[in-house]
């Protein structure tokens, strides 16, 4: 008889391999991050194609160099042209002017620079002090945090499905009954599946968060990873516990719905009782606090579901 840790390790490797062999599992786990980052890249691509050059179109007769110096400090150049309005319309320049008329497409910051300069020539009129600042990653904490929370929540739901589905599928195809004949305690079989599902989930979730950080910046990245991992580990445990003695042919849908509801209840508990949000797995998604408490609770959830499995029979 093999020692228990090596038996669990071998069973875990076999489970990981079966999960990786199912193209559907990998595609599903890659899909959330592919969709979010793909959408962002396409959006930026469209904006990049349609955005005009950093130029302000001026009449060819323009000789005043002060405006050019002002715009140069913002990396904007003057583009002499016979038709400033046409240049703006054709997206060759962000703004243009001809005498007292300033042409724009929408309300770009370049408009304020040109308008403030022209108004400064008329000190009796109201004046403009443009406040121009490009967004830095740290200026947009909300977007990165929201998207990372959404992606982590999707992985948590996958955790329930994979945790429950692994047992149900193996029960239906007879794999579970065969493993029950092995000289290992039943909790080892559950533990190996929980570890396998958790590793595969976190193995996709962590690079997904790295990718989001590379493209949109995720504040408190490592805390988000910890809370995301805690949610995934807990969800796998819930799925594992919920499926109990059911298989795909015997009440799988109802058990799965129950497990998904339990996952949602955890999230809801964090929303209703704010004090629970930083410590309760799933509810802690998006929190900036250290993720150790949710991770410890996730391990306790897992222990509970693994030892509950000891009572399960193979039929």
């Amino acid at each position: 008889m093999r020692p228990l840790p090596s038996a669990i390790a071998l069973l875990t490797l076999a489970s990981i391999r079966r999960l990786l062999r199912e193209g559907l599992v990998i595609r599903s786990l890659i899909f959330p991050v592919a969709l979010t980052t793909g959408t962002e890249v396409v959006t930026l691509g469209v904006v990049a194609i349609t955005v005009p050059d950093d130029q302000v179109a001026v009449p060819t007769s323009w000789t005043d160099d002060a405006l050019g110096q002002l715009l140069a400090t913002h990396q904007i150049t003057l583009e002499p042209t016979s038709d400033p309005a046409g240049a703006v319309f054709n997206k060759e320049a962000k703004a243009g002017f001809d005498g007292s008329k300033v042409y724009t497409l929408g309300l770009p910051p370049e408009l304020l620079l040109v308008e403030s300069y022209l108004r400064s020539k008329h000190p009796e009129s109201w004046q403009i002090e443009p406040v121009l600042r490009e967004h830095r990653p740290q200026d947009l904490p909300g977007a990165g945090r929201l998207i990372s929370r959404l992606v982590s929540a999707i992985y948590a739901l996958y955790g329930v499905v994979i945790g429950a589905g692994m047992i149900a599928r193996d029960r239906d195809d007879g794999t579970l009954a065969a493993e029950f004949l092995l000289p290992v305690p039943r909790f080892a079989i559950a533990a190996s599946r929980w570890i396998a599902a958790s590793l595969v989930l976190c193995g996709c979730q962590i690079p997904a968060l790295f990718l989001l950080d590379a493209l949109i910046s995720v504040p408190d990245l490592y805390a988000q990873m910890g809370h995301g991992a805690a949610a995934s580990l807990t969800s796998c445990a819930i799925g594992l516990a919920a499926i109990g003695s059911s298989g795909a042919k015997s009440g799988f849908s109802a058990r799965l719905a129950g497990a998904l509801s339990a996952d949602f209840a955890l999230y809801l508990a964090g929303r209703l009782i704010p004090g629970l949000a930083p410590i309760l797995p799933v509810a802690s998604l998006g929190q900036a606090s250290e993720p150790w408490l949710p991770l410890i609770l996730a391990a306790l959830f897992a222990l509970g579901s693994i030892f509950q499995f000891q009572r399960v029979n193979g039929r």
């Binding site: 309005a85 008329k101 300033v102 724009t104 109201w126 406040v131 997904a208 790295f210 949109i216």
Partner: protein, 542 residues
């Protein structure tokens, strides 16, 4: 292909009868009616009438400005416009943007010294019939998933194919059932919308039924080899909405250049034509022709492939598929996180791009390369063999060591293209990135010299690695990829190429002559050892 109308209709009636039988049968019609009727009848000027953002004001706000609708008084740090007065008592607006209403109000008492004119044309937006087409198409994804995979999992597809109907008639019948339902539902909803005066009649009505018709054909094509309902649903639910949206956006962009171009894009062209985006009959007719032809081709391909129960169909040789697949996957994994931030600069915010983490990009790419390598090799019976994960012989380490300076020299070759994205790709493996860059290199080796090379041979391995990893230094990249591939082939292990690539990043630079001499020496030594190995046993893996 012979299509007998009576058989086609019989298959369609059977599918509709099965879906609408019993209590559950009422769900699909209920969902269609429940979504389409409100979309067709709700009273609004435009479905795309987005609310204007509120203008946040602070400071000495003039009373007239405070009375403007859609404004909000806030503090100076978060406001769009902060009002002050200068030493001459003139009003000064410290502004991030100034809406037209504010400018007009401030200029009303005196002649404006500056006149602001927005020369932008109003963006053309589709009408509500686009929503009807989208709803009618989206609701059918479940039925499409059920059509062929459901028959296959119930083991009834064999029976149907053995009956006196052709594959084409079976596919056409199933398509007719769901495309017909979708087209009819969308058309009835559109007629209701016209009767209530919500949308005027126009050529768009012709394109409307073609959207669900082509969507169903596309859905059937996507699920043609799925073995069960879950697999079919996963594909249909995941891919169909994405394809509808992407083709619609691309058609919209092309249509901005010329409506004819947008209309020619299958599915997306019909979607926007159904939304009444373009004036006149020409774009509508073109979109109907392109989308209808595409649907017919997809149905023909589906009918050709449904006989292969468990096997996925393949139109291309294995090596070409691996080349295209590995290059596409590699580009997505490597270029998106590393070069992707350059899009922020291209879109006008270089400050944001410069603040994004390159180390995170490296970690993301490295981990996704590992997922790809292990995910692909897990499809085989022997993962270590599929990744060339085995100990090399001692004799292979000497040429490996000698190749390192040459690799170092080649990796430092200046890029041929130096725009923002190309520089990001070139600089991504700089040793300064530390552990992230090193893990990235190891993961790349496992993917290209492990899985791709073992699966499809040296040419595919070298070409895909060069295209993905060295797009800015193609000649040097080709040599690097060739040297690393040679190391992997020679040693029958991925370890030497991993070590060489890893070490080359930190190797002491030698002159080109010295590097070449060392590389040639390594080559001669390895040929010598290789010939000795051959005398003992013939190589098997490569």
């Amino acid at each position: 292909m012979r299509l007998r109308p009576t058989r086609v209709v019989a298959v369609a009636r059977r599918d509709l009868a099965m879906e609408t039988a019993g209590r559950k049968g009422i769900f699909l019609p209920l969902i269609l009616v429940g979504l389409l009727i409100p979309a067709a009848t709700v009273s609004t000027d435009s479905l795309f009438d987005f609310p204007k953002p509120k203008v946040r004001l602070s400071g000495d706000i003039p009373a007239a400005i405070q009375e403007l609708p859609n404004t909000e008084i806030t503090n100076s740090t978060t406001s769009h416009i902060h009002f002050t007065h200068n030493e001459n008592g003139v009003l000064v607006l410290h502004a991030r943007w100034i809406p037209d209403e504010v400018r007009t109000l401030l200029d009303k008492d005196a002649p404006a010294p500056v006149q602001v004119i927005d020369v932008g044309k109003e963006a053309q937006l589709p009408k509500r019939s686009l929503l009807l087409a989208l709803i009618a198409s989206s609701v059918l994804s479940g039925a499409v998933a059920e059509s062929l995979p459901g028959e296959r999992s119930r083991r009834t597809l064999e029976t149907l194919l053995a009956a006196a109907i052709s594959h084409g008639e079976l596919v056409a019948g199933k398509w007719l059932a769901w495309a017909g339902l979708g087209a009819m539902a969308a058309t009835v909803a559109a007629l209701l919308s016209m009767v209530l005066g919500r949308q005027s009649p126009g050529p768009w009505l012709l394109a409307l039924p073609f959207v669900p018709a082509c969507t169903v054909a596309l859905g059937m094509f996507l699920v043609r080899t799925s073995n069960d309902l879950i697999g079919g649903s996963a594909v249909a639910i995941r891919v169909l909405p994405a394809l509808l949206t992407v083709s619609g956006v691309i058609a919209w962009m092309l249509g901005g250049i010329d409506p004819t171009l947008g209309a020619l894009l299958p599915l997306g062209g019909a979607l926007l034509a159904a939304g009444g985006l373009w004036e006149g009959w020409t774009p509508v007719i073109l979109s109907v022709l392109s989308t209808g032809t595409t649907a017919a081709v997809l149905l023909a391909l589906t009918s050709r492939d449904i006989g292969g129960f468990q096997e996925s169909s393949s139109y291309f040789p294995e090596r070409l598929r691996v080349l295209v697949g590995a290059t596409a996957v590699g580009m997505a994994i490597w270029w998106m996180p590393v070069a992707g931030p350059a899009l922020w600069s291209a879109a006008g915010n270089s400050v944001f791009a410069s603040g994004l983490s390159t180390a995170s990009a490296q970690w993301a790419a490295a981990m996704f390369f590992l997922i790809a390598a292990f995910g692909m090799s897990a499809q085989t019976s022997d993962i270590p063999k599929a990744l060339s994960w085995r100990s090399p012989t001692i004799s292979t380490w000497l040429p490996t060591l000698l190749v390192i300076p040459a690799l170092h020299h080649l990796l430092a070759t200046p890029p041929l293209w130096t725009f923002d994205a190309s520089l990001r790709l070139f600089n991504a493996t700089a040793p300064q990135l530390g552990v992230a860059a090193l893990v990235g290199v190891l993961a790349q080796e496992l993917f290209f010299r492990g899985w791709v090379l073992t699966r499809a041979g040296p040419i595919v391995g070298i070409v895909s690695s060069t295209l993905v990893l060295f797009p800015t230094q193609p000649i040097a990249g080709l040599l690097v990829s060739s040297l690393l591939a040679w190391l992997a082939l020679h040693s029958r292990s991925v370890w030497p190429s991993m070590f060489a690539h890893f070490a080359a990043m930190f190797a002491i630079p030698l002159s080109p002559l010295g590097s070449t001499a060392l590389a040639l020496g390594g080559l001669a030594l390895s040929l010598f050892y290789h010939s000795k190995d051959k005398q003992v046993s013939a190589p098997s893996a490569f």
